[in-house]
Symmetry: C2
Subunit: 398 residues, 2 copies
Amino acid sequence: MSQLTAEKLEQAVQLVRKSGADAWITFVRETAGGGDPVMPLILDGGLTWQSALIVTADGARVAVVGNYDADPLVSSGDWTEVVPYVQTIREPLIATLEKYLPQGSPRLALNYSLDDVKADGLTYGMFLLFKQYLEGTKFEGALVGAEEITIPLRARKTAVEIQVMRAAIAETDRLFEEIGQFTKVGKTEAEIYRYVQGLIEERGFGYAWDRAGDPIVNSGPDSMLGHGIASDKISLAPGHIFHVDLGIIKDSYSSDLQRCWYVQGEELGVPEDVQAAFRAVTAAIDAAAGAIKPGALGWEVDAAARASLVGHGYEEYLHAAGHQVGRLAHDGGAVLGPRWERYGRTPFIPIAENEVYTLELGVILAGRGYLGLEDMLVVRPHGIEWLSERQGQIWTIS
Amino acid sequence: MSQLTAEKLEQAVQLVRKSGADAWITFVRETAGGGDPVMPLILDGGLTWQSALIVTADGARVAVVGNYDADPLVSSGDWTEVVPYVQTIREPLIATLEKYLPQGSPRLALNYSLDDVKADGLTYGMFLLFKQYLEGTKFEGALVGAEEITIPLRARKTAVEIQVMRAAIAETDRLFEEIGQFTKVGKTEAEIYRYVQGLIEERGFGYAWDRAGDPIVNSGPDSMLGHGIASDKISLAPGHIFHVDLGIIKDSYSSDLQRCWYVQGEELGVPEDVQAAFRAVTAAIDAAAGAIKPGALGWEVDAAARASLVGHGYEEYLHAAGHQVGRLAHDGGAVLGPRWERYGRTPFIPIAENEVYTLELGVILAGRGYLGLEDMLVVRPHGIEWLSERQGQIWTIS
């Protein structure tokens, strides 16, 4: 997926320029066991020795890396220069900075942030090393955090990223279809959970959140809601709602969707209380979607959904109406949530074009269980475009 | 595996005491996407809000965590006190430090290190936050790196850790047996690679290193050695060596082993040049193992293996004779390698009791391919105990 990193590096140049920094530097080592969360956006694969990935406001993209790591970077074509070293990164790093930033005292942006964990990949030991290397040079005085670069770089998806996410969503839709075919009255939540995990692993997908709770499977009024574990003791029974919250990772990007079914009994069709709840949940998600546009704030979007649901006579949900999706299901940045203290400043971050969000909410129906829906969208200049195909009506199982 | 974290915390208390620090603090947030590499040693599961895991030289183990994260820590029984908070960690953190460290100006050890990436889990943003919180208290002046605690904590295995690693090794042995049964003349490297990955995924194991290169499958003289990719074009042919380097993760701990086969042709038995190479590789690994004991240095161990192999008339290998294994196949700390600059100070870290190493080396046989072996061991008071069952002679395939 070299097109992906190429596009993100192009985007990074624009963001560096806009941030006022002269260069953005991702400084890492031995990234196999984790590494800086920003790195996969701009580089496929890992780096072993101390490495500096430098993007300048002038558009240079320079990688100073150990000589064993150089070949894949050269062949990616993403870097305008690759500087391999053997003994120590110090001299080649300083020489590279001097070559590309000859004027004045340049501002160097590094990956640290007090607020956003995804923008805080530089470890303290690496910061100290970096400062040591710059000692006595003109660069030592001007280190700043790179939040203004790394947060939008992750959030604002390129065309290729959106295409990859569409593919993850399509595979999730296919899993929902298979769940509908597999599921029958009498099957337990845990049987369905294991069936889905079998398919996910057979197809080589990852889990968009902790494997233990993916998928979330809820059936009937006794099910553990939220992040509960699928039960071996609860099986599908007529008159109940059956609900699945499922996210996969395909080609490094996540989906996060919810679908629901009515477990049909002897009655004709789906009872009116279930249909009314489905309509109310759909309307609340529509209300949220209608409030999303570049510049809108997350709490405004959440308030629209919350008011709609309450207006239909249902209780408020106890979470945010939506969140960003990207490499992970919960991908940081703006949250489409209420102005509750636990969400900190995240409901106040303005929404921007090309960000991908999911909208999710539901209601509890007495005696029947949880009816919830979740759909994904991308922000466009004047509103949204749905990435997932909405569920038009509640499906049935018998 | 709560017994595991309980044992590691017990060990941590001893290491804090020995280090001269008054308390060791792991300060993290939103650990789902990565987090501090030290955390899984002392805690099962993740933490969401800013959290401080505190171990004092007096034996207190106190966790200051967000209220939603508190329950699993309380029920683990690992923590002498769990302090939940709702609004901000600042006041409960300071109050906890004051309660447990009432005297003088205590030294607080934090997870940063210029040399060891596994001991450098504190991000710079989190360091700045921590300093901010301590401002104006008696704790602000005495922050030190926790290398002396975190490096041995990871390296020195408890009885439970060794037991878990034995199970990972046993599953790897089983995979080698299945490889021997599956493999026939004419199968390609890539077929065997895919077969092994299928078994690994079916059984729910992880990969001990990058999935793309696990297992490494080499067959014959034209195979890509080292970290090369299994080929669809190279198939097993009589007279060649077939070699597999394989590591899995089971219950969070890794294996890393190599086995080899001779591809039998019309001739009777295994040719003498192959048998001689197998004996020489075995002898070199024996020489390394014989040099391992608490206090020995990695370069001395490597030198013993290197001298043995050269003494048998073979060329030197171009890597280290061994490395630590733990949660990952390459688990940091001491390296059993030569005093080459690229290994830095790692061949000079003294070997200690209960550390787990793997020993690996091989030779290239002209016209036949790579004959390599790798076996795992634990350091005991006066020498070593093998954890893997050695391969007594080269196996055959036809």
